[in-house]
Subunit: 333 residues, 2 copies
């Protein structure tokens, strides 16, 4: 196992300590229970927006805590749901009197634990709403998931819903916008290589030198097909095709296009894949109104990429463009 780590059991806490040191202007890290929270939390009179999930997907979610995006993030062990105690503590820490939105990716453990935390918070008088992302068109029902998995849309939703909360929207409105992003968004990913969970010490799955997995999950869950390596053009078609058919996206639509790296894929390849996606969408009469290219929802050092498309309207475009200042996403301030 080739990693820049000390003991596998300390990876998450040591990385959190690094984040806390590097971004003390933006965030604080609370330990036991572990959560990352805006330095100025709770912001009185603002809906709190929190998320969380297993570690190993950095910068998601901790890198999205800051002004205009998340108020807090709960990191679990690598690829393991955080526990309700973390979510409850984070909910309390960001409660500014207008309620708290939980952004939950659709994995059985995350959904169950966030539900429990929401009940406990409600019992303390904190109003909680939840949105569950399930944008992965690759498979229905998978390892860890009933229904579709929550993947790339989560990143975009956290930005857009976070902007709504920052602008003063109430809880019902922030939830409505978050649900709209999820409803209008679809994703699909692929892997060239596996990744290795530190405490496992060996690759999550085996993938021969001449094969790739299309429709991979962000924890290495099986996808749709395992097939021979193909060109970037062919891979882009394999990812974009199912996304475009599913909603469906149509000629005349304007989209937010997100080309995401899985952690071990360099930026030169992501721009090359963006070029492929741009060509495909142009051919279908779909306009890329906004875009994000980079590694934002990763699977440790897995090589591969995912595409996410969200149908844009004026409301979502305005919220996407709103200022944001987090460790991983920053513009307008």
């Amino acid at each position: 196992m080739k990693k820049l780590i000390n003991a596998p059991e300390n990876v998450v806490k040591e990385a959190l300590a690094g984040m806390a040191d590097a971004h003390s202007d933006l965030i604080r890290v609370h330990y036991d229970p572990d959560y990352i929270v805006r330095a100025d939390a709770p912001v009185q009179g603002k809906v709190g927006v929190i998320s969380g999930g297993g570690s190993g997907h950095e910068p998601m979610h901790g890198g999205f805590v800051g002004k205009g995006m998340l108020d807090a993030a709960c990191p679990g062990a690598v690829f393991t749901s955080p526990v309700p105690d973390q979510m409850l503590a984070a909910t309390r820490a960001v409660s500014g009197g207008k309620g708290v939105l939980h952004v939950v990716k659709n994995y059985t453990g995350d959904v169950m634990n966030f539900e429990m935390a929401a009940e406990l918070a409600a019992a303390e008088g904190i109003e909680v709403a939840s949105v569950v992302t399930n944008d992965d068109v690759a498979v229905k029902d998978s390892l860890y998931t009933a229904g579709r998995r929550g993947v790339g849309v989560t990143v975009l939703l956290e930005k857009i819903a976070g902007a709504a909360a920052e602008a003063g929207a109430d809880l019902a409105e922030v939830k409505r916008i978050a649900e709209k992003v999820n409803a209008q968004g679809r994703s699909m990913g692929m892997a060239l290589t596996s990744c290795t969970v530190p405490h496992a010490g060996k690759p999550t799955f085996e993938l021969p030198d001449d094969e790739m997995e299309i429709g991979i999950g962000i924890h290495g869950e099986p996808g749709r097909t395992r097939t021979k390596l193909a060109s970037a053009t062919e891979i882009a078609e394999m990812l974009a095709g199912p996304i475009l058919e599913d909603l469906p996206f149509q000629s005349g639509d304007t989209v937010l296009a997100f080309v995401n790296g899985m952690g071990g894929t360099p930026l030169i390849e992501l721009y090359l894949m963006y070029n492929e996606l741009h060509r495909i969408l142009k051919g279908k009469g779909i306009t890329i109104g906004r875009r994000l290219v980079g590694s934002y929802i990763t699977s440790l050092e897995m090589a591969g990429c995912s595409f996410t498309l969200v149908k844009l309207d004026d409301e979502l475009t305005r919220l996407w463009d709103a200022p944001v200042h987090t460790p991983a996403l920053r513009w307008g301030m």
Copy 2:
């Protein structure tokens, strides 16, 4: 070879096309000769700052073109110097009447070709100054280099000198500041894995499963030692030690600390390494005044990291903090 590409000979042009599509608000890409240039170039009355080098180090340099950083970047083939024609065309394209600074990493081909371009530009009446970065303390004289290699300092220098140019400094002043960053900066890197140049089709070097290379160059040039895998704490000492001794950095200094990923290393490990560097510097009485954590000067999909430290004073801190808006670095606008 597992990569998201089509034909190896088209990788650079296809990635450039993706960048052009994704960042048309900031940059334009010119082909044959290839260069990336600010959308509003030439900016009249401003010193132009350009750089360039082999591709495969993205986002360096093309991702640093935009307001407050580079005016243009010349990408060569992967790990191959761009040619003088590119540099000359880029120099012309950014010439706003106050001269042009060439930022050159110390590799024999880059230095020779930028010198030739500078002579050709001078013959056309464009005043050109050059700064050569040589911050890598790992080795003196290496594959492709006489003297020390130019690595991580280049990224920080381009930001700081770019800010000076944006603020209206003249050519001599921008050059002075650039030389100061190089003089006050030192770097060292390491690799857990090799990378594969697309047209080579096989790894640049072989590194057994239980070994790493300390002092690696950004093209996979040999470092100081090849040794058994070690902990993050030990690796951080192996990188920080030679950097701190070389200048030397001293108790009471304030530094800009840059923890860079080589392309295949995930962010969770970079934050863990930042935590180690923070601990080491604290122990030496050195304050991290500013920092950058991420993959900014990469070696395709190589796994590994590098540390760069630059001694800060008020002038450099102010220029680092100045607004920047490029594809890869953005703040304050």
